[in-house]
Symmetry: C2
């Protein structure tokens, strides 16, 4: 977890916020939000909201009353208490890429497997810059579909001792996730007291929450586990093509999902979610790392703070097909604004490639390097008389150099950021080292990191109980 | 020229600025600044400053009085008035890379030639994101040393119709630059009225201004041509290893150089220069695109504004050996803060590779893409009722899509940033297009751009006069 004490970069005026506020109020009250789950509609009806089939027309004041029940900040526990996190305020929590059907290692792009899932979990465990491996760090296509979620949660629970994200494919999958996490952390009461899962509930934008996602949301909220209510907005496809329109829609969708969470269980922790980019109007493909997405991200942070909610944006997003220059500049075009906005929960922080279709091992390492750098860049300077090193100037004088100055010698080990991946080798030395570009060097780093990996210790009894649970549920699911 | 109307990202408190202010005052008054040119020392002595050999101990109040004579903003004329720029305020002016002895095209790294100089000038002319090719866009090693500056200025004057930077290798070279620019723009009076050259005067940090640079400064300031007084600070070598110390030293050096400019010619336009990064304490090589350099950059902007001076920072700096991921993320790690700081004059905006040793054609194109994106990203949003596109929501409803909505159809051509280099092609299409990474695509783009190049028109009489001048001076210089 990183505590970002640098200033927020805010670009919306009070007037602009008021316009956006009027916008979402009009959407929820005049067009309404569709909830494809009767229990959800029923909760809204009981609370006095106007229902027409599965569309709920919401009173904006009612929405804000519900939103006000959500905590501004909350803890999430990991099985290793040193990895507990706090969501909200100045805290930034980072998870790896989520949801990719493919992986890339070097020049090979192929279907992701359970072995990839394990390896990427191990890498997430190995780097302290990541607070969680996330959830679906890749889609293990070789694992049986019905019981795949068990294998994934088992890997996350055993190969990492950080918190992880819940499966959201269905209500029963969510229930399995919760049960396994209870086993890991000492029972239902323990995880209701301090939540242990954060789960991603995506809106089927525009203005529709789907049944399977809602089933999962009901499970998690009932167990007091936080959900990230995330409008999924690629402007031009799932929202209008203007950023203000997308922001307004995002507010309407996220706030309506948060209101539902509070109806399911008042006080349930939530995260205001944002996944906001645009399609390329020439190719029809999604674009990431665009100027529009950076602007949307900065605005989202400001709006979430306006409504007193922790928020999720950002990550190392890009559209590139390989771990090349584009993948890097698009990733940073998203990650740097993520730090400027002070995002509380950052999914897709490491490994994202090709519009999220690919978990890339080399890109994972590149992103970790970026996260390491940004942590230094967003640490406030200490400026006092001593930091001015006047004595060093007296020692060195005019036209000299500071390499051997006492002030330098005392500090040379940790005065500057030490790169893990970036090279400053001069050209001759770089040639001698094999003339490896960044992706090639990243390939060596992740392989070495996996070789050196030691799984975090886990109590044998807990492991056995998890094994039993998985075996039983696998039988029940017929896999 | 880009007008940056977004907020500045400021990270220094008033207290911190006061500490830094006390710091430079102490350096200039107690340690003093070395000026390796008797005429400079004499000017300071005449103005009542304490002189000890070539070291001048400056009264800080005197320095600030001189600094106050410099204009806060000024115009620079180009031979095509459409390319005139205004330095200061919200304006950002961009120049290409400067000073590289080598070039890279694709996998080939070699000595730079005059032909490279011409080609890189043509590319700078071709992209409107660049306001100037700069000066030494690469070092043409195949041109005779003594008359090389004539060839370079001739290329800049004829292949571009943007302003260019003056040669600073010696006083006579500066005088030649000024003469040729007089020919181009209608005489001495014309360029004294509105300056036409910006020249880079580097400090031999710490705390020493060298004779040849000062010779050039005297020529340019006497002709009322702006100079960028730039402390050259790689922390750990030319300055202490703490950022506050580097900032303090930077103030001492830049303000002393600016004071000299005002003694040479009161009111001479100047730019507060910054070139601030650090050495890698492991390799001893310079590092670029570091967190420390980004922090230094943000602080520099704030300090320059504090003293009412236009400033120079930033660029697409990096230490990478090829146009790979590192080159891109380090470049953006510098360029994005450059926009956050609202830098008035940005050298090295396109083409910089390998710590500035290499002008890289592919990196040039990557940087232009970044500049194009950042211009969009730093354009304020217009947020009003109409931008919310409520009608589009009424049209599309719940769970639909906006691809064919009237609001989208009216705007699809220019609603989003259109990439020049970045690819959003899906994997199959990307394979079909040759599986080219970003650098390979950039290689195609610059070659096509050069093929399509048409030089800007130039009056025959002026060209003839320039030819005569170059021929005469070449004879005089014995080349």
């Amino acid at each position: 977890m990183f505590v970002n004490k640098m200033p927020r970069y805010e670009i919306l005026s009070a007037d602009a916020i008021a316009v956006l506020e009027r916008g979402w109020r009009r959407i929820v009250s005049e067009i309404g939000i569709q909830f494809a789950k009767p229990e959800a509609v029923e909760l809204f009806a009981k609370a006095g909201q106007q229902v027409d089939g599965d569309v709920v027309k919401l009173d904006p004041e009612f929405v804000l009353e519900q939103v006000a029940k959500a905590p501004r900040e909350f803890d999430v526990q990991a099985r290793n208490p040193a990895n507990n996190v706090h969501i909200g305020g100045d805290n930034m929590v980072f998870g790896a890429v989520y949801g990719c059907p493919f992986v890339r290692e070097g020049d090979v792009r192929r279907d992701a497997t359970m072995q990839d899932f394990r390896q990427l979990s191990m890498l997430s465990q190995a780097y302290p810059e990541l607070d969680t491996a996330g959830g679906v760090i890749c889609e293990p296509n070789d694992a049986p579909l019905d019981s795949r979620h068990l294998d994934m949660i088992y890997a996350l629970a055993t190969l990492t001792d950080k918190f992880y994200m819940g499966n959201v494919v269905s209500g029963p999958n969510a229930a399995d996730t919760i049960k396994m996490t209870e086993i890991l952390l000492g029972g239902r009461e323990a995880i209701e007291r301090t939540p242990a899962l954060i789960s991603l509930i995506n809106c089927n934008s525009p203005l529709r929450w789907d049944d399977r996602m809602l089933d999962a949301q009901f499970e998690y909220c009932a167990a007091a586990q936080p959900v990230v209510l995330t409008p999924f907005l690629l402007m031009g496809a799932m929202s209008p093509v203007t950023i203000p329109a997308a922001l307004t829609q995002q507010l309407a969708e996220a706030l309506s999902g948060i209101a539902l969470a509070q109806l399911i269980r008042p006080g349930c922790p939530v995260i205001f979610g944002s996944f906001l980019s645009n399609i390329d109007m020439q190719s029809g493909s999604p674009s990431f790392g665009t100027p529009e997405s950076a602007l949307g991200l900065l605005c989202t942070g400001q709006l979430a703070r306006h409504y007193g909610l922790p928020f999720r944006t950002g990550g190392g997003l890009n559209s590139s097909q390989t771990a090349d220059a584009q993948s890097a500049y698009e990733a940073l075009m998203t990650l740097l604004p993520t730090f400027l906005a002070g995002t509380n929960f950052v999914m897709h922080s490491a490994g994202w490639l090709e519009g999220g279709l690919v978990s890339c091992y080399e890109k994972f390492i590149i992103d970790v390097e970026l996260l390491r750098e940004l942590r230094v860049e967003f640490t406030p300077l200490e400026i006092d008389e001593a930091s001015l090193a006047f004595g060093a100037h007296e020692e060195v004088g005019h036209g000299g150099h500071f390499l051997g100055a006492a002030h330098t010698m005392e500090r040379f080990r940790d005065c500057f950021y030490r790169p893990m991946l970036s090279s400053t080798a001069n050209f001759e030395r770089w040639l001698k080292l094999g003339a490896k570009d960044t992706a090639a060097r990243a390939g060596e780093i992740w392989r070495k990191k996996l070789e050196d990996f030691t799984p975090p210790p886990l109590d044998d009894a807990i492991r056995a109980e998890l094994d039993d649970y998985v075996a039983r549920r696998r039988r029940e699911l017929g896999d």
